[in-house]
Symmetry: C2
Subunit: 336 residues, 2 copies
DNA sequence: CTGAAAGCGCTTACAG
DNA sequence: CTGAAAGCGCTTACAG
């Protein structure tokens, strides 16, 4: 590949000058600049990002994105949002998918640090996320998505979980449902607490008792969704509606429902947190609380890049609203 | 972050020696090595990958993965396969998702080159992929997945498309179907040609006429799947079964089928190329030709890393077989 | 406005 | 077996 040296020789200037035109440093004679630009074009020169990153103290042009589960369509949307903003601003993105495995999360974090990223966008997982705290302590800029880091002061971009869950639950209540189950995530995660909170608030607002056996906590994955749905169906008195706390849980629950030859929404109504572009290919089309992973990823990247190179800034919280997309998986309860 | 220098001082050796123990160069006194290793541990030293990459001529520990569409679950599996192999061998991976946009594909390729990757894993898109050819010409190692690059001599890891399509079609024929539609991809892509080839071969083998209006080519996305399915349903004589050439097309077709209040498989049978882990959450569970994106990604990475540092080697083609997963979206045709 | 020089953190011949 | 030195391709004070 062509180097600064070659361009400099070709344009008959020093490498300093070439570097200056590349970095848009203003104090370059317009004529010189033109000559250099021509050389760059002719030699098809592209700066070596590795050397730039090693040398530059300010802006390295690299962001690390650390995600718990790339199989979750929500995170795929996040990736798209991050990518779009980052590449528009000439930042590259490295993606680390740790699959809920803390050791692997540390592996990625180490690699990203060692790649001298400008900063990290992280979706904290279940644990205490000590490794993320370490990164912050070492001075890396961090933006959290989906949820924060306890009482640590970081930027976080998330969604109004409580309100989203509230709306979903209220919708079910208005449809006449009373035995509404909630398949929740792990009990100690903020996201879970907030969504359960919204669920309970809606129930209370409408004077519906919250029944303990109908609220079940578990890991947020496909298998758990399927297993919990089965427990729910095995109950002496079944729920007439289910609100699942995320898309994997929803998909798992759906599998179990169909395995039991039950019909949605005639036998049971279901509403999911998280929407997919193919929710409409489900039969019936899924009613869902939609949160935009794309917007979240995009905003998180904006905040991170803003932080890079800029002076320290107070941390911000950006909270997006969800929207309830009514399709056909929920039905008015007539009997009862 | 700690540097080689600090470790060297701490262990009272030169940086050369520290570098040697890090890179497992054998000629280091065991005692010295131990002392250095202790220092590394105590100072929590992690080598700076950027400096390593800038300096080292052999192995840079970075792979670029260039994908046409991260929203396609198949590519998500590919990513998982690549990641698993790469990180096990201490390679990091940068992912570029160009969304079928050639300009953006070039952008990623440029960035990856400029990041001094060891090599590229690429899923060629519709076009001529001039940019990929450029990269090869410049000396970058490239492994193609999903399909090759015309007559260019590169490693490619793919699936036996013809046989997979043949099996799917034959299955439908054995179920008694004769009017079997095929929603194909873009006509000039090898993958499409192969799958259409398998479809036709099965038809011919069983003496079923291939009807032109039942074989329709289009972009391989969700919207196209939906649109083509509608065309098919609008035909004077509808197909009784559909074989869709990939998962996005299948999902789109499903949407249209349900929009038309048709029942799968009673009104129409459907089988898709590509399986998803949640295919079983579809109602009815989808019958599909399964190809393992994970295996493909894994193998491609193995080939690429093998190529890195090793002497030039003849290019290989690895072709995985597909497996037909029979679920409930296809039904025996009784009337007719 | 421009260039010479130092240096980012490593690896790798070259001596010894 | 170990160290001093050069250099990967850049950026950035420092002089002029």
């Amino acid at each position: 590949m062509t180097s600064l040296r070659k361009v400099a020789d070709y344009a008959k200037v020093s490498i300093s000058t070439v570097s200056r035109v590349i970095n848009n440093v203003p104090l370059v004679d317009p004529k010189t600049r033109q000559r250099v630009e021509a050389a760059i074009r002719e030699l098809n020169y592209v700066p070596n990002r590795v050397a730039q990153r090693l040398r530059s103290s300010a802006r390295k042009g690299l962001i690390g994105l650390v995600l718990p589960d790339i199989q979750n369509p929500f995170y795929v949307d996040v990736i798209r949002g991050v990518e779009a903003y980052a590449y528009q601003h000439n930042f590259a993105v490295m993606i680390g998918n740790f699959g809920q495995n803390e050791t692997r999360q540390k592996l990625y974090l180490d690699i990203f640090k060692s790649e001298a990223v400008d900063g990290l966008i992280v979706a904290p997982s279940q644990g205490e996320n000590r490794h993320i705290l370490d990164a912050i302590a070492e001075g890396f800029s961090v933006v959290c998505i989906d949820r924060g880091l306890g009482d640590v002061d970081v930027d976080v971009v998330k969604v109004n979980n409580r309100k989203g869950a509230f709306t979903a639950t209220e919708y079910l209540i208005e449809l006449g449902h009373r035995r509404i189950a909630h398949i929740a995530g792990l009990s100690h995660i903020p996201t879970t607490t907030e969504r359960v909170g919204g669920y309970k608030a809606a129930m209370e607002k409408h004077g519906v008792d919250v029944i303990d056996e109908l609220v079940r906590y578990s890991k947020s994955d496909y298998e758990s969704g399927a297993a919990i749905m089965q427990e729910l169906l095995d109950l002496a008195e079944r729920p007439t509606a289910v609100f699942a706390a995320n898309n994997l849980l929803t998909l798992g629950a759906l599998k179990t429902i169909y395995d039991n030859d039950l019909i949605v929404p005639d036998d049971i109504s279901i509403i999911g947190f998280d929407d997919m572009y193919w929710s409409v290919s489900l039969n019936p089309p899924l009613t869902a609380v939609q949160q935009s992973g794309y917007d979240i990823g995009n905003k998180a990247t904006e905040l991170l890049i803003q932080r890079v190179g800029a002076a320290a800034r107070h941390s911000t919280n950006v909270i997006f609203e969800t929207t309830l997309v009514k399709r056909k998986s929920c039905k008015k309860l007539t009997r009862n």
